[in-house]
Symmetry: C2
Subunit: 657 residues, 2 copies
């Protein structure tokens, strides 16, 4: 267009950059800049758990003066072991704006095929069934497999938008202790070594995300509880050459010659596709031998380690795989087609406590990720549960540090206790599920249905399907605690039904995504996009069918909620509102002005795309209110008029102004 | 998982990086490295058209020794004028992996509201209707509005993954000519000046993407044809304070006091949302005055420019807007809420030729973007048509440069002629549509339906809706030419129906996206994701219901297609195959082995999600084959058995080996 007059503001240049997550308000004083040896948070380990935590804290507003993450390794690249992202993890990554590369370039795994011994001897094995890989409602109804190193690179790339330093590498943790004599404000003392240079770093909090052989855990005297089985498995990533028909589906193969699991993987630069195989290796190992690190330090004798290693080689893995795939062939496509292989022993352990307090009962040291739980890899849980540990901890930590909770600095902050309460519960469930699943997977399925002592396909499928609520991450439920309030009497409960997995609102569970249409502009949208991981609480108001009545319950509730929101620090509580089918079309001036004030761009029709009220278990004529925590989990539900219940809940979490 | 043996290949580290687009094969010799003054392609201008072209050529494989893009401005940031992305442009950006930030952070514009004079005098204006903003089938059924500078930044960020130099800035083009005496291989001679330093740059091809006042166009003696109207409009981007109910919808307001168009815009860092207003300004200007650049150079006298500028100010724009919005109020939310404003005059012009040939009839100089066409901004076309010019040109240029076409280097290459043929047609249609749309938009709509001489809402809506096939970019159709073959006799035509806008296959139109399920893994996928913009031709084989018959037509065709693909340079022709409902379930060994060989990861069920055969106008019992060009447009269609027709088409485009 031919322009002949033009003016532009300098701020216009800001419009071209990628959006930044808005930091949280801070009510406490900031740490003095440049004091290199004191940090508010020190993170040890930059795997998926450590990077996720550092990224979240940096986005929430901790700068390089407040936040330090150290890692022993020299680079971000690793022979990553994990490769699976579960639906709930994908939702979380989406809420951080980090899902696109993963969804587009990872391998979307939509189906699982089960192969079992065939009654027909020539066939040896046959496909018993194909089922959806994810059987529960989720925004992304599939897993994604992708190299763990790529996830770490995606997290770190984003981190470097918020932190100049990023991860301090080549830095080992030597020791950590709580020293309340020297400096009560920064009582956690860590001895670290960077390229041979030792130094002492003090902090308010320290998080050990340093893996299964966690130094933090050892220094703090935390104990892994549980045991190892005697099953050994080999795992290999490669480009395969095979005539097996389901090589691009996740497969559980129970053959007469042992079990194999196929995990299809992403496309690589050659245009070929990777495949991961888990292959059962015959032979026993001594229980508990997973306690020794692979570098040979620790209690195991070198010769013992050597003899165990000798049992599993690339050659034996392929021999075992070839036997299990018969009558089909499988081999590496060409020389150099094997990307990575390893052998491991199945064991399920969970650390007894996920945090350590000082003498004043203030939680000072936390552990997250593999430092908390070790288990078998085949259910694709490790990287997910680890990142979700950090996702659970991060907002609690920043609320406490920024003075946003109703506790005083240096006093025990109840919100920090909920980390262990919530995540230890999940870790326990994880290892219990994994124990059942792994042992069934290592067992044999009889060719005939009545094979004495052997597993039936039906039994295996049942464990697999029942576990899907847990393994997908979509069905996990945090126990009752100060930020999960289920103390509602039946006659005050606005929620009907108990099919929580399908979306019925339930404190302790994540808010299921639904599709809605925005009032302001007709945008057909995913509700979860109004719950980005910016650390804010949200009130979800499901207004009732009386919304257009200025003296109705909905109108009253919206007015009260608006007042309530105003009592908390600016921007900390947002409102999302939904309406059911109403008697007539309406414009903004037909509804309370508070609705436009608080929810102009977050007010939706809840019946034109998905039946939101039906899915959430809310009666349109009654409505309901829920508080959704910063991590997307429902904190409390209340009847529409019962704003007091909402207020009581929020006041326990957030300081009023 | 506790690992006790581990091995990894070095190549594993490659797995963590973002994917790169695979370059095209090159059959001609490469330009010698380090020869700074000779390039295969020089691009002038780094707006959306220039950047899109540079990015595509870099992805296709031209390195910094072969490719130079210069721009007069010092940085990428600009007071960008354009802000609208149309559905077809979004599909194109998606095919480049560049859509996510735009879709998530731009403003998705789903609806248009029409406001017209009300019969009720107190109301003044009233909403006549709300209609979908995009009324034609498209992968993204909405527009997106976002700052043009942000699009440029997204393109440049990606460019810098492929090119170290990126754009050479602060560099003006002084002159360009074709000099066939000095160096016949690099006959295009450009005089450029970087920070006062003049130098001469020779190239095989030069593309002028240097805007409405194109120096390339002027030096080559190309002429803009068309004329300006006498309508002046103001345009302003701001954060508004208003009680107008549809401020977040695209609105066409015809009020008794003039017309306004509202374009809702993206959210900015403050959390507020931008709005763009186009406001009609009363008063005339001299026709043709849009020929003078705004910096005062050129033929217009300084005093003339000054007097015209004086007619439109920020104040007059808001006065006119306030009058048109009555009885609603509208104003900037606070001081500094105005981001940008400008005044422009509507005019429609198209350049007579989009390329210039040397004496051997080889196309040497091209123009793209605003250098080709100027028009009013209100239909949101400018940035789209400009980028699509480059998208059309890029693959043709690289095919010619890399020796992939059946022409000899330095000889006229027919594929380069098709750029003008195809894009000039679109530019003509653009200015014709824009002339009708703008003049109706600047006209008055009568309060009473019978208002003599005035426009009715129905008439306006009809132009708006009919134009949507064109404005969305989804309905454009390239004319018959060597890469659009419609010469099919009726009894050989496998395509039924003529509703091309809804997807019926038609040479010259883009392949509509459909949802399909992949045979290999059950992935529920968008078909367009198998047509990324990597410069490859694809054969789309819609197999018939006899696919499971080893002697059927489908099997024969697949075998012949596989042979055909093998005759072209490696990787240049890909195959995508779809099957209709078949008499029974099948595995890979039930279909021709060529299908797995060519389409293991691009073979789909075409009936479980969308009715692909129905949408594409193909009978399942007959099937069909189509060739899809590298830009996603259908080149030719043929009956299933008629592989000869496919071969003839491809052999005109691609050299055989």
């Amino acid at each position: 267009m031919p322009v002949f007059t033009e003016y532009s503001a300098a701020s216009r240049e800001l419009r071209v950059l990628p959006s930044f997550a808005p930091p949280l308000p801070r009510l406490t004083s900031r740490i003095a800049a440049g004091n290199e040896e004191k940090f508010e948070v020190v993170i040890v380990g930059a795997g998926p758990a450590g990077l996720m935590l550092e990224l979240l804290l940096a986005r929430y507003g901790l700068d390089d003066d407040s936040l330090l993450c150290v890692d022993a390794k020299p680079t971000t690249l690793k022979s990553g072991q994990a490769d699976g992202l579960q639906p709930r993890t994908l939702e979380t990554l989406k809420s951080l704006g980090l899902a696109d590369e993963i969804l587009c370039e990872g391998c979307q795994m939509w189906q699982v095929a089960f192969w079992n011994p065939s009654d027909d001897k020539d066939k040896i094995i046959e496909r018993t069934s194909i089922v959806p890989d994810v059987a529960v409602p989720a925004r992304y109804p599939h897993e994604v497999t992708i190299h763990q190193g790529r996830i770490e690179r995606i997290l770190e790339t984003d981190l470097l938008r918020y932190s100049k330093r990023g991860v301090q590498r080549n830095t080992n943790l030597l020791d950590v202790k709580i020293d309340e004599v020297g400096d009560t404000e920064f009582p956690v003392v860590a001895e670290v070594e960077t390229n041979g240079q030792k130094r002492t770093v003090r902090s308010k909090y320290l998080v050990g995300a340093d893996g299964a052989h966690s130094v933090v855990s050892r220094c703090m005297g935390l104990k892994l509880e549980g045991e190892s089985s005697d099953h050994i498995w080999g795992v290999v990533d490669l480009v395969v050459d095979t005539d097996f028909p389901d090589i691009r589906r996740r497969c559980a193969i129970h053959s007469p010659s042992g079990s194999v699991m196929i995990i299809p993987r992403e496309r690589i630069a050659t245009g070929e596709y990777l495949t991961r195989l888990y292959v059962q290796v015959p032979g026993d190992v001594k229980p508990d031998s997973d306690q020794q690190p692979i570098d040979g330090t620790g209690v195991a004798s070198v010769s013992d380690a050597r003899s165990r290693r000798g049992q599993v080689t690339e050659k034996t893995i392929f021999e075992n795989a070839a036997a299990a795939f018969k009558p089909y062939y499988i081999r590496p496509k060409k020389d150099g087609a094997v990307d990575w292989w390893a052998a491991y022993q199945i064991g399920q352990r969970v650390t007894n406590s996920f945090s350590v307090k000082d003498s004043a009962k203030v939680n000072r040291v936390f552990i997250a990720g593999d430092a908390c739980h070790t288990h078998s890899p085949k259910a694709g849980q490790g990287m997910n549960v680890s990142m979700m540990d950090s996702y659970n901890l991060a907002w609690k930590l920043i609320y406490s540090i920024n003075g946003l909770t109703p506790y005083s600095e240096g006093q025990p902050d109840g919100i920090l206790d909920t980390y262990h309460t919530e995540r230890h519960t999940i870790a326990q469930e994880l290892i219990e599920f994994d124990r059942a699943f792994s042992s069934m997977f290592s067992g044999k399925i009889g060719a005939s249905k009545d094979g004495a002592g052997s597993l039936t396909h039906g039994e295996f499928l049942e464990v697999f399907s029942k576990g899907n609520g847990f393994t997908s991450g979509c069905g996990i439920e945090y126990p009752e605690n100060m930020i999960v309030n289920r103390t509602l009497k039946e006659d005050n409960n606005p929620i009907h039904g108990t099919d929580y997995l399908s979306g019925v609102l339930r404190p302790g569970r994540r808010l299921l995504n639904v599709r809605i249409i925005r009032h302001a502009d007709g945008y057909r949208r995913d509700l979860q996009d109004d719950f980005p991981s910016t650390g804010r609480f949200r009130i979800l108001c499901l207004t009732s069918s009386d919304l257009l009545n200025p003296r109705g319950i909905s109108a009253q509730t919206l007015k009260q909620l608006s007042q309530l929101i105003g009592r908390f620090p600016q921007s900390l509580v947002e409102q999302v509102a939904i309406h059911p089918r109403l008697p007539k079309d309406f414009m903004w001036n037909d509804v309370p002005s508070e609705l436009k004030l608080r929810s102009e761009m977050s007010f939706y029709s809840g019946y034109e795309m998905d039946d939101v009220y039906g899915i959430y278990g809310v009666k349109p004529e009654k409505g309901a209110v829920a508080v959704i925590r910063p991590d997307g989990y429902v904190g409390v539900v209340a009847e529409l008029a019962d704003v007091g219940r909402v207020a009581t809940f929020l006041e326990k979490c957030i300081r009023t102004i």
